[in-house]
């Protein structure tokens, strides 16, 4: 290379030629900076638990409380995580409760017909994928607002379930002796097995988000879709894919919710809409797209499910649950706003 006499960097060329150096050269500071959103969520969770513990030490030191949270938490985790992808991509999906109900309906039908529950799970997964593809295509290729279109799909799909079933539930007692139940939803030493599957799902998804082409493209598309398009990314395909991912997550979640109760209700999944959305944002994924945190979303889900149990267990009446739900959400959002800058 020719010597560059006019280089503006010439004055400190000696130091500039040195290797890269992170501003926070200590690994711990770098780790904190890179994970500030999820660490903030973790801090909120720890403070909240500390308050609960002080309020009622006897209840919060018994395993039963945690066991009951760990039974229902996985269901939420399976949808919170894909939703982090959707929000990062600059979209929203409000149709996942109906997808949960629909996919678990297919699961229930297959099991009731006498097939192995594993076949039912496969059928539910395919249903979830197809519904995700349908919703995603409607939004992306139909050019509709994801907020309104997915809200509409949620009503539409739930309506279909209700019309066909006329409000009747299905009892699936045969599940209790099946291998699928033992592997996926029983208990080991008092710990609900499904939490292990949920944690595995969270870890895999976090890797998908941070270390896979899919996650990289989701982030770029959410950040600057025009730029992504110019650089040859099929923006529409990436967007449809995140909806398919939600469909898969919702199918798993719906199946687990049926396996916990051995019963399928036509309302299966309905109660998850708001807590799951709250978990995503409490977890530190901002609403504007481009960035997000899967692990933060998972911690957000843990926080949200402990609010309900915790408020009641702390000796307050059930009427306080919504108030504390709101309080935690608002406080977390304020915390995240202070914690992370938005670059434009």
């Amino acid at each position: 290379m020719e010597p560059d006499l006019e280089s503006p960097l010439r004055a400190h060329a000696g130091s500039a030629r040195q290797e890269w150096k992170h501003p926070s050269d200590h690994w711990l500071r770098g780790f904190v900076l890179d994970n500030r959103a999820s660490l903030g969520t973790l801090a909120v969770f720890i403070v909240m638990m500390a308050v609960f513990m002080v309020a009622n030490p006897t209840v919060f030191t018994t395993w039963y409380l945690y066991s009951s949270v760990l039974t229902t938490l996985p269901v939420a985790l399976f949808v919170v995580v894909p939703l982090v992808f959707v929000v990062t991509c600059g979209e929203i999906d409000l149709s996942f409760p109906a997808t949960m109900g629909f996919a678990s309906w297919v699961f229930a039908l297959v099991v009731q017909a006498g097939y192995d529950p594993f076949i039912g799970i496969a059928a539910a997964l395919v249903t979830g994928m197809l519904l995700g593809f349908l919703v995603g295509s409607l939004v992306v290729y139909g050019g509709l607002s994801s907020l309104i279109a997915t809200l509409g799909m949620n009503f539409l799909l739930r309506g279909l379930i209700q019309i066909v079933n006329e409000g009747k539930s299905m009892a699936l007692t045969s599940l209790s002796g099946s291998w699928a139940y033992k592997i996926l939803s029983s208990q080991i030493y008092g710990i609900p097995v499904q939490i292990f599957w949920a944690v595995a799902f969270v870890v895999l998804s976090a890797m998908l988000y941070n270390r896979h082409r899919f996650g990289a493209q989701v982030r770029v598309v959410g950040d600057n879709p025009d730029s992504a398009q110019q650089m040859g990314i099929d923006v529409k395909r990436v967007r449809v894919k995140v909806f398919v991912f939600v469909g898969i997550g919702a199918a798993i979640a719906g199946t687990f919710s049926v396996m916990i109760n051995f019963t399928w209700w036509p309302t299966a999944g309905d109660g998850y809409l708001l807590p799951v959305l709250a978990s995503v944002f409490v977890g530190g994924t901002p609403t504007w797209g481009g960035i997000g945190t899967v692990v933060g979303g998972a911690i957000g889900a843990v926080t949200v499910s402990f609010i309900q149990t915790g408020v009641v267990a702390a000796g307050l009446s059930g009427f306080y649950v919504q108030f504390f739900n709101g309080l935690i959400i608002i406080l977390s959002l304020l915390g995240h706003k202070w914690n992370q800058a938005r670059y434009r």
Partner: protein, 265 residues
Amino acid sequence: MAERIIELRDITKSYGQVYALGGVNLSVDRGEVVGLIGDNGAGKSTLIKILSGVVRPTSGDILVRDKPVSGWSAARSRDAGIETVFQDRALAVQQTIVRNIFMGRELTGFMGWLKVNKEIEEASRLMREIGFTSKVFTPHSIVGQLSGGERQGVAIARAIYKQAELIILDEPTTALSLTETAKVFHFVRQVRASGRSILFIGHNIHHVFDIADRFVVLDRGKVALTADRSTVKSAEELINFMEDVAHPGGLPGLREAGEAEHQAR
């Protein structure tokens, strides 16, 4: 003579009745920096879009390394080694430098998992190549934290990846401070030193004059002047020429008077 990277012959482009380009000839050789100057509406952006394959010309020939090509498109342009850094730079500002450089062509291994270390290594190499190193940022830094000049550096680093032969820089110094502009010039010189060519489009004639080996002045869809650096004495000479082209026969004094009158209206 140096190898000819690309040549445009008698290119026209019309939008309905309006001619944006009316028979333009332009060529870029290996290792040269060509400065493209022209007023608003001269057809600069149309010409860039044709070179990058976004827009197809109405008529005319495009030759890549002296061979005529048919079915010119954005993909063909990329294949020919032409990379365009658009004016808005097209960066995802909340992502890291690495993610921006490998946007749309992630280095992946088994089942689409990213080769994270390879990407960092490659990004560092590219940025060192254009003299884009610093103590305050790393390949992991968020692009939104960088200054305008440094962002331009990321866009250039992204363009030279995949051994681009010709990099089109569309107004790379617009809205940049003096020191940032100097940084961009530094990157451009490094790219030329590595044997690549640059087509530098600029509003600011002084900027173009400082960096280019050859000037092409575009006026109302036609090439008004092609001149080697050695034949032009100063930027003022170029400016005068452009004003002469824009207002033929106008004397400087008259021109000023005319402008004053224009402003008074």
